[in-house]
């Protein structure tokens, strides 16, 4: 196979990377890979690092299970993804080192989520229920929903 770039030299380097945006596959000769700066990206990317670290399995992994989404640590190690907001808390003692190695850090700095004030989903649900109640002219039900909405400090004119 010839190099994708120069189309002259035989391709000696196969480069594949799964980016969030696309899967990149290149067959290059040494000199073209060099020109693209690909040889120096040999330093492992966080994704590659994750994939390598997830291979370190333990017999207990099947027993460590998230109480909210029921993802086990074993499954996490297979797919490399969390199942819900609580997985991290559950797996923390076992993946601390993994996170540290991926990020070269153990502590978040930067923007924070404002906790406790948002009632977004519940309010949204109540509003949807209210809409339906009004559609079928169930006014008592609607009044009850309005009361609940008031508890969230939401006035509902609908």
């Amino acid at each position: 196979m010839l190099c994708d770039d120069c189309k002259k030299n035989p391709a000696t380097i196969f480069f594949k990377e799964v980016l969030p945006e696309k899967v990149v596959e290149l067959h290059l000769c040494g000199s073209c890979a060099h020109k693209r700066g690909l040889l120096l990206t040999k330093k492992m990317s966080p994704i590659e690092m994750l994939q390598r670290l997830l291979k370190e399995k333990s017999a207990k992994d099947e027993q460590i299970i998230c109480g909210k989404c029921y993802l086990s640590l074993a499954e996490f190690k297979r797919i490399g993804r969390f199942g819900c907001v609580r997985c991290l808390e559950t797996f923390k003692p076992y993946i601390k080192n993994l996170i540290k190695q991926i990020h070269h850090s153990e502590k978040h700095v930067g923007r924070h989520a404002e906790h406790g004030k948002q009632k977004g989903y519940e309010v949204y649900q109540l509003r949807e229920q209210l809409k339906k109640a009004l559609e079928k002219e169930a006014y008592e039900e609607a009044a009850a929903i309005r009361d609940k909405l008031k508890k969230f400090g939401v006035e509902s004119a609908e």
Partner: protein, 347 residues
């Protein structure tokens, strides 16, 4: 659909400095809503409920257009990808997904991607700070409505551990024909790697002036403040721009005629071709971009270069003519399109 590329061609010729070198800037943040499971554990019915919820909430905060990915054609989906508004992973999803695009076109939000929300902003030229500001001000307003998954130690909790912390990815796309010519790409990129930036030279077809597009972005999301990441990217970019400019001086002292020849031949081919492939366009445009940036080509502006770069892509060119076209027919129409764009300015 093609008005979605406003983010890249909205300069009306008024581009930021070095917009020929810094082609575009991009910022994205990943966020999840605590009440709902993440992608791998999200049931289709819950995905549907989440989608409706997010759509309603976002719609109440910013004016824009909602696109139900299931409702549009394969061609339109492909076009969104070509315009960098969605990811390939997003296209492969079987669960219900949606895309929200703000009215001015500079914020786009993928709903039910790997994370519940992937909020991104794009702009032509070196505008990473401005678009980051836009993203964060939008995040402030939506963060008051949604309970984002957050951990005091590890920051925003994302589906993939590699995004923990800020969930922030900033990147710039650089056009560096000078550095490719002087063989300094490796030296420069090595420096970038050392300060935690990932560098990819994946866009161009070939070496030399043909492709010469490189993307730099932050690798890590934990333990680094967003503003520090932005500053690092900004500093690194301006450093690379300086070296690129010096390299261009070298080109002009050593190979001026060769480069001018390449630039004028490239624009001549673009203006004359009757059949042209996407790859050929990308290579020729690189020379043209270089010519525009160095003032050698005066009658073409970067908006046109950027527009041709995006509209030339296979799905976009079909959408532009609103027809399903075979490859050969696309190559013909692409040439038509480019001739019409390049003649307008020079008549």
């Amino acid at each position: 659909m093609l008005n979605k590329i406003r983010w890249l061609v909205s300069g009306n010729g008024q581009h930021s400095e070095y917009a020929d070198i810094v082609v575009s800037s991009r910022v994205r943040i990943a966020r999840n809503v605590s009440q709902f499971n993440f992608d791998v554990k999200l049931k289709p019915a819950d995905a549907e409920r989440l989608l409706q919820f997010l759509r309603t909430t976002i719609g109440s905060l910013i004016k824009g257009e909602y696109i139900d990915i299931r409702q549009i054609s394969a061609l339109e989906r492909e076009s969104l990808l070509e315009c960098h508004l969605i990811s390939p992973a997003f296209l492969r999803k079987e669960k219900p997904t949606g895309l929200y695009i703000s009215e001015d076109g500079d914020i786009s939000i993928m709903l039910n991607e790997e994370d519940h929300l992937r909020i991104q902003a794009l702009a032509a030229g070196m505008n990473i700070q401005q678009i980051a500001d836009k993203i964060f001000s939008f995040e402030d307003s939506i963060g008051a409505e949604l309970d984002f998954s957050f951990d005091e130690t590890y920051g925003f909790i994302t589906s993939c551990p590699t995004n923990l912390g800020t969930g922030f990815r900033g990147s710039v796309l650089l056009h560096l024909p000078g550095l490719v010519f002087t063989n300094e790409v490796e030296k420069v990129l090595k420096g970038a790697l050392q300060i935690g930036m990932a560098v990819r030279g994946i866009y161009g077809e070939g070496s030399e002036i043909k492709g010469s597009l490189f993307q730099i972005s932050n690798q890590h999301t934990l333990g680094l403040r967003e503003e520090d990441l932005l500053q690092t990217i900004t500093k690194l970019t301006s450093m690379i721009v300086d070296i690129e400019k010096k390299a261009r001086d070298v080109i002009f002292s050593k190979a001026r005629h060769e480069f001018e020849d390449k630039i004028f031949r490239s624009i001549a081919i673009l203006r004359s071709a009757r059949i042209i492939s996407t790859d050929e366009v990308l290579n020729l445009l690189s020379a043209v971009r270089f010519g525009v940036g160095t003032g050698i080509l005066k009658e073409v502006n970067l908006d046109v270069v950027n527009e041709i770069m995006l509209v030339s892509r296979p799905a976009n060119i079909q959408l532009f003519y609103n027809e399903i076209l075979e490859e050969h027919e696309r190559d013909v129409r692409r040439a038509d399109f480019i001739r019409s764009r390049l003649s307008r300015k020079t008549a």
